[in-house]
């Protein structure tokens, strides 16, 4: 069963065609990186896949189920999670509370109100193990807004992992990070369970080529190239519109 199948997906905003007849499929365990210049429609595509925006046309299937008109939270429960290009956490809550909410998000007992959350062993343990697994135990009682930006970017990923997602959408996980911390984050992504399918938007070309099994190039809302990284690297169209400068630099 394919984690994600997109058929002829389009989205227009009052005349602006943000996504234009996009179709592709992702196999289980695959790591697909989407690249493209600013305004190519990458984040809009993520918003369509996760149900933040309704598509104008086309269909989306997650794990064999059509979800085109399903609300966000129902899609999350099918096993899809995302991170945000612009850090989107609970800044006024502690790190522990952030992760706890992420764990609760897909937990069937989230509506329980007569028992303390601490009495649910599996929820507590999972929160704890995520924090220790990624080395954040020390900071667990710190308000997230007081943590460094680099840490916040990592927390984005950990929160996406907390709901046991089988398909993870990473929207520029490395956005705004200094070079040193970019590698921390990309190695974090490389460490993820290989069974997790990844769809990644990435601006940093080194990271993109490092992570990708396959690449999709978007421009003006259309897919203009698709294939393994080696092929994309030498694709003349891609070099022209996107890698142009960098291609010249490398040459």
């Amino acid at each position: 069963m394919k984690p994600l199948v997109i058929e002829n997906l389009s989205k227009s905003f009052e005349g602006l065609q943000a996504v234009w007849d996009v179709s592709f499929q992702i196999e289980a365990g695959e790591r697909v990186v989407i690249i493209g210049p600013n305004g190519a429609g990458k984040t809009t595509l993520f918003n369509l896949i996760t149900g933040v925006l309704p598509p104008t046309e086309g269909r989306i299937h997650l794990f064999g189920e059509e979800v085109t008109h399903l609300p966000s939270h129902r899609r999350t429960r099918l096993g899809i999670a995302r991170t945000f290009q612009i850090t989107n956490l609970f800044p006024e809550l502690t790190l522990h509370e952030n992760i706890l909410l992420a764990v609760l998000g897909t937990h069937p007992r989230q509506y329980v109100m007569h028992k303390a959350v601490t009495s649910f062993g599996p929820i507590v343990e999972k929160t704890q193990s995520l924090l220790s697994e990624w080395g954040f135990e020390e900071n667990m009682h710190t308000l997230v807004r007081n943590l460094s930006y680099g840490m916040q970017r990592q927390i984005e990923v950990i929160m996406a992992l907390a709901c046991d997602a089988k398909l993870l959408l990473l929207d520029e996980a490395t956005a705004g990070l200094p070079p040193g911390e970019i590698s921390t984050l990309s190695s974090m992504i490389l460490k993820l369970d290989p069974k997790i399918t990844l769809l990644i938007i990435e601006h940093d070309m080194n990271v993109a080529f490092q992570l990708a099994h396959r690449m999709i190039v978007l421009q003006n809302g259309r897919v203009i190239a698709e294939g393994p990284p080696e092929k994309i690297k030498v694709d003349s169209k891609v070099q022209e519109i996107y890698l142009g400068e960098e291609g010249v630099e490398n040459a």
């Binding site: 989107n88 956490l89 909410l101 897909t106 109100m113």
Partner: protein
């Protein structure tokens, strides 16, 4: 070294727990003996009011403070809880338990209707729509003179039957009644805010769209929070009606709503005991002001502005900062 640390920790922990236990015991003893300690009935009356309105503001706090939804329609839910037992006593039967259960049922029904209409809307429009919905209920009890008595309200709820041969009377009995339901709601509130659902409420307050991405059905959470909060407000209305022995449209008015909002904000919205602190302060001020002037609404408005300007986190928020400062934490 490690053993020493552990020992010290243990030594420290035990007196802490003992102190906590003692604090609970003395608080409980004080609350129970209160009517016999105070110099006059006036203080028992005041305390009864504080208990009832604390119940109300704790209910509102679950929605306003924890879920981040500022309702200006909760006065109507309080009013619904007050009017139903009053109507029942006037036309059918003056029994406490029947009055209470029907009052709660009505508060539940109206909360559900309010929530169905208002929950989809957020921010300042939520305030407007709850205000409008509240005014509908107020207009109903004010205008439907033949049934509700209009401006005059309904009298004669005094001494409801709680047991076949026992009816409530006397200030102290109402004090204990209010205390009982105050403590029940205090416990419910504590349970809710520490529960998974309580955490979800706070998550919605902090970042609604993120909650959606995490898999929460935000609409359903807000709906449930609204209804729970509304029923608690209705409960306060029921006790209030029995305590005062009569109801009038003011019990379902905009003034009730804003007063409760102020109690929550003054005490510290989104804190466990904030509403109780806020209610106590407001009612004491209200009683003092009443001696000198009838312009209570003016004072209320001024208090509102002062709180927003100088203590937007309320008394509990300010205390928390002060305590942390004393302990050397930031």
């Amino acid at each position: 070294m490690e053993a020493l640390g552990a020992l010290r920790g243990g030594e420290l922990r035990r007196p802490m727990e003992l102190r906590k236990l003692l604090a609970y015991f003395f608080t409980a003893a004080l609350l129970v003996l209160y009517p016999f300690i105070v110099p006059s009935q006036y203080f028992t009356t005041l305390a009864t009011q504080v208990l009832i309105f604390s119940t109300f503001s704790m209910g509102l706090n679950l929605l306003l403070g924890y879920t981040g939804m500022a309702s200006l329609g909760h006065g109507a839910l309080f009013g619904a809880g007050a009017y139903v037992p009053a109507l029942l006593s006037k036309y059918v039967i003056n029994n406490f338990w029947i009055g209470m259960s029907t009052g709660l049922l009505m508060a539940l029904l109206i909360s559900v209707v309010f929530a169905l209409i208002a929950v989809r809307i957020s921010g300042v429009y939520f305030i407007f729509i709850t205000l409008a919905l509240g005014q509908v209920i107020w207009a109903l009890v004010f205008g439907w003179k033949s049934v509700t008595g209009g401006d005059e309200g309904i009298t004669g709820l005094g001494s409801p039957l709680v047991w076949p041969s026992f009816s409530l009377s006397g200030g102290n009995q109402y004090y204990y009644l209010a205390l009982l339901f105050f403590l029940i709601v205090l416990m419910i509130t504590y349970r809710v805010i520490t529960s998974p659902f309580g955490h979800a409420m706070v998550g919605i307050r902090e970042n609604e769209s993120r909650m959606r991405a995490l898999g929460f059905n935000v609409w359903r959470c807000k709906f449930i929070a609204f209804v729970v909060s509304g029923v608690i407000s209705g409960l306060a209305g029921v006790i209030w009606a029995y305590y005062t022995g009569f109801v009038n449209p003011r019990d379902a008015s905009f003034e009730r709503s804003t007063e409760a909002v102020l109690m929550v904000i003054l005490g510290g919205s989104g804190t466990f005991l904030g509403p109780v602190v806020g209610t106590t302060i407001i009612l004491i001020i209200k009683n003092i002001v009443a001696i000198y002037t009838k312009r209570w609404l003016f004072v209320l408005g001024m208090a509102y502005i002062l709180i927003i300007l100088f203590a937007s986190k309320g008394v509990m928020g300010a205390l928390k900062g002060r305590l942390k400062g004393l302990l050397g934490q930031t």
